[in-house]
Symmetry: C2
Subunit: 483 residues, 2 copies
């Protein structure tokens, strides 16, 4: 989902009454970022509080390439990383993930090995259907075992876009919350729905209800579900005791628009890029009785802050033996403070851009290659800013492109290199970059090697369902990441 | 001001708390349009309820050219047109215009000859300063007489952007409202401020207060002033008896961005074009105790509807001897109804596009000429949609470009000519076009002739101020309208 997909962020059909209401009752973050313009690295960052370049969710197969966890990925979340649920568990929390995991699908990367007690969902995207020979369909898990596969047991009709997965995820969330409330147990629920990810889907009752077509139907179903979850918390009497945060893992995939992709509002480009459209996210904090209603914050925030903020709420110390990139947002949320901190925009192994205050300096620009672009793959449809949305990787290390995001949120007007304003801002940001790079210890890259043999041929539980498939011989290769 | 300039419409710095509050207390229109992508024709349409092509506010000097009322324009609002204040006067209303008139500056076009009883403001834009030889500075009027000139008596500092005009206009509005309330007289106030029009200005107290730079300072001052006007109505106890509508006369002038131009949110291009960015406007209706708070409407609305709606509120019959393009929006505003009606997008003498429901058909596309574009005049900076944002005038009469504005508000993905959806929608819209054209009686074009001699050399009142200048010999010429 993109920044511009919510009514409260200016989506012109204004079809998200529940999220808009959540914002009216809580705090809206206007300058909130993900840690990567692609899903897997973002989610790894969210759960570890660390940049993908530290936690290993990146590739060195090419320069500045986005990588993720398809079925044939060999890597996943390293055991050495400490995930939010692992830490919350120590404080007595029960942790559940509902939906897409995306931190590796091999046994050692299973979410129940990394702090979660419960899982209903899938390790990968719901791509498919596959033929079960070249490629198996993606499994859906309940806890340790698979309970079926997409397109086989969990239907997604690619023609109509119909699938009832969001309803399953909603019911699962409501049940989990009820159970925790009944047993008076604190909980962490990671509700990682994926209806707005291509192939986009919605339940029958939502199909055709949006002005925006199928994508809007999916947004409406998510919005409706969030309304039901918040209402459930209120009805159980635990809303004043439950911190809820809504955000997204990357900008809207404009490459899939309009049927399968959303809106990044006034921002440049989308998913896969380090322009604002790729990384600035809708974000709302909700906690009745604690967060003043109707708040709006310009705090530069990050999904990694949810790690630190959640630990703070639970009274758990963050690990001190490693660099944590997240910050505790509670002073922002509860007292309206503003904390000075930069935002680092990474694409794979490269620091592409840095934001400090209202200034953003691009050290590298790239949308995608001419070769990919000529195939019709366009991360910036209808947009073209000379020297900015470049189709070759352009280095600006010694003379970064500088934008003032207040006057120019769309990154269309680079500041003059000769201006005092440029000199001052770049000097400041370059200091931050130097400091960042000097202390950076990159993690072992997890997204370099792919192997058909590691795909989900025979996940645990497949025997009971008669759904075990035969894996081919192992043949590890460098994964190909064209973007 | 553009659609995307208000917080409630998704402006990322969210600096319009008063307008956002006005929307929260009233009704937000998401699909509201002006009648022309340029100022004078829009204002003529607002006050007559009629398309510029009917009321004469267009040019036939070239095909599909935007024209307005600079100092040397010979034409203006014809006597045969009936303006909103002329009609309201019959119902006992006192009518005042504060700010920019723009319907002609020669004596026969004076607002007090067209239904207004009071005026404080100017006939033209606040361009300048001029040298008083080639061109005089624009006069500022109080009622029948000029009280000074821009840059001479009413300072605008082009370097800092400082001018206190919005404060003057605010005080004038508050005083007028107080006077009307004291005398128990119904009133119509046309508060036509122009701080967001280049050269953009703000008062000292607002300069430097916005994240958005000077343009944002101007928006903040307007927002603050509107908050004060609404509060004044409430304090006088007449808010439940006063209908207030906020809107703009064209999309943000992207050509002047970022310092002098605003945002059209997710829409294509800006002022001067018939893409959504040029003509979709922010719009809010406010009338406590009558309009339910927090309403959002998808009614296709037009500035011309303010003519019909105001007459309806005042119990005055609209003229029956001419075509009125505005509709009465009261059923929409008070009862939440939706009225089926098309929107016609004109540029000068040409019907460029038509919207019906969520479909918009372009019969002509044009941003501006290659010649103008090569001079750096760009109405779509950073945006380029092949075959859509064309630099030659492209006719599509027999195969219009069709967009679905729900799925594609940015007009990036024309529907396939071969689709059933295309056939159905275009057949419907073409019927509307045929009907519209068959009954259209174009007015005498007012914006064809320019003459240095008619400029504001010696407006009434200049003698008292010693500010009369000598006009040159009359030398009428075709006005040049390159866009």
């Amino acid at each position: 989902m993109g920044w511009g997909d919510l009514g409260v962020f200016g989506e012109p059909s204004k079809e998200t009454p529940n999220l808009d209401q959540m914002a009216a009752e809580g705090m809206l973050f206007l300058d909130f970022y993900t840690a990567s313009p692609l899903c897997s690295p973002s989610r790894a960052a969210l759960l570890t509080g660390r940049l993908p370049v530290r936690n290993g969710f990146y590739t060195t197969n090419g320069h500045a390439r986005n990588a993720y966890t398809p079925q044939d990925i060999v890597g996943g979340i390293p055991d050495s990383e400490l995930l939010l649920p692992e830490l919350l568990k120590k404080a007595g929390y029960t942790n559940k993930i509902i939906g897409k995991w995306h931190l590796g699908h091999r046994p050692q990367f299973h979410p129940l090995r990394h702090g979660f007690e419960e899982w209903f969902g899938s390790p990968n995207c719901h791509f498919g259907p596959y033929d079960s020979r070249e490629r198996p369909n993606i499994p859906v898990y309940r806890d340790w075992e698979m309970v079926g596969r997409y397109y086989e047991d969990f239907k997604i009709d690619l023609k109509t876009g119909e699938a009832n997965l969001t309803q399953l995820y909603l019911q699962e969330a409501l049940d989990f919350i009820s159970k925790q409330q009944a047993s008076q147990q604190p909980f962490f629920l990671y509700w990682a729905i994926d209806a707005t990810h291509a192939p986009v889907y919605a339940s029958k009752q939502f199909l055709g209800t949006s002005q925006r077509g199928l994508y809007g139907d999916a947004v409406r179903e998510i919005d409706d579900s969030i309304g039901k979850i918040l209402k459930h918390l209120q009805q159980l009497g635990i809303s004043e005791n439950t911190f809820v945060f809504f955000t997204s893992d990357n900008g809207a995939a404009l490459i899939s628009a309009p049927r399968q992709g959303g809106s990044n509002g006034p921002f440049l480009c989308g998913k896969q890029t380090t322009f604002e459209g790729g990384m600035r996210e809708p974000a709302i904090a909700w906690w009745p009785g604690h967060i003043p209603a109707g708040g709006v914050s310009h705090q530069l925030g990050s999904v990694m802050d949810l790690f630190s903020t959640s630990l703070s709420l639970a009274g758990v110390q963050p690990p001190s033996d490693r660099q944590i990139d997240g910050i505790d947002l509670l002073p922002v949320i509860l007292q309206g403070k503003l904390i000075d901190r930069p935002i680092f925009y990474y694409r794979g192994n490269e620091l592409m851009a840095v934001r400090a205050g209202l200034y953003k300096a691009h050290y590298w620009t790239w949308s995608n290659s001419w070769e990919e672009h000529s195939k019709g793959i366009d991360f910036c449809p209808g947009q073209s800013v000379a020297g900015v949305t470049t189709h070759t990787q352009e280095e600006h290390t010694y003379l970064p492109l500088l934008f003032h995001l207040g006057r120019d949120p769309g990154e269309k007007y680079p500041l003059s290199f000769a201006s005092d304003e440029y000199q001052r801002a770049v000097e400041h940001i370059s200091g931050l970059v130097q400091q960042h790079k000097a202390t950076l210890v990159p993690g072992q890259p997890q997204l370099n090697v792919c192997d058909q043999a590691v795909m989900n041929w025979s996940p645990p539980g497949c025997e009971k369902l008669g759904k075990c498939l035969k894996a081919p011989e192992s043949d590890p290769k460098k994964c190909s990441w064209p973007h």
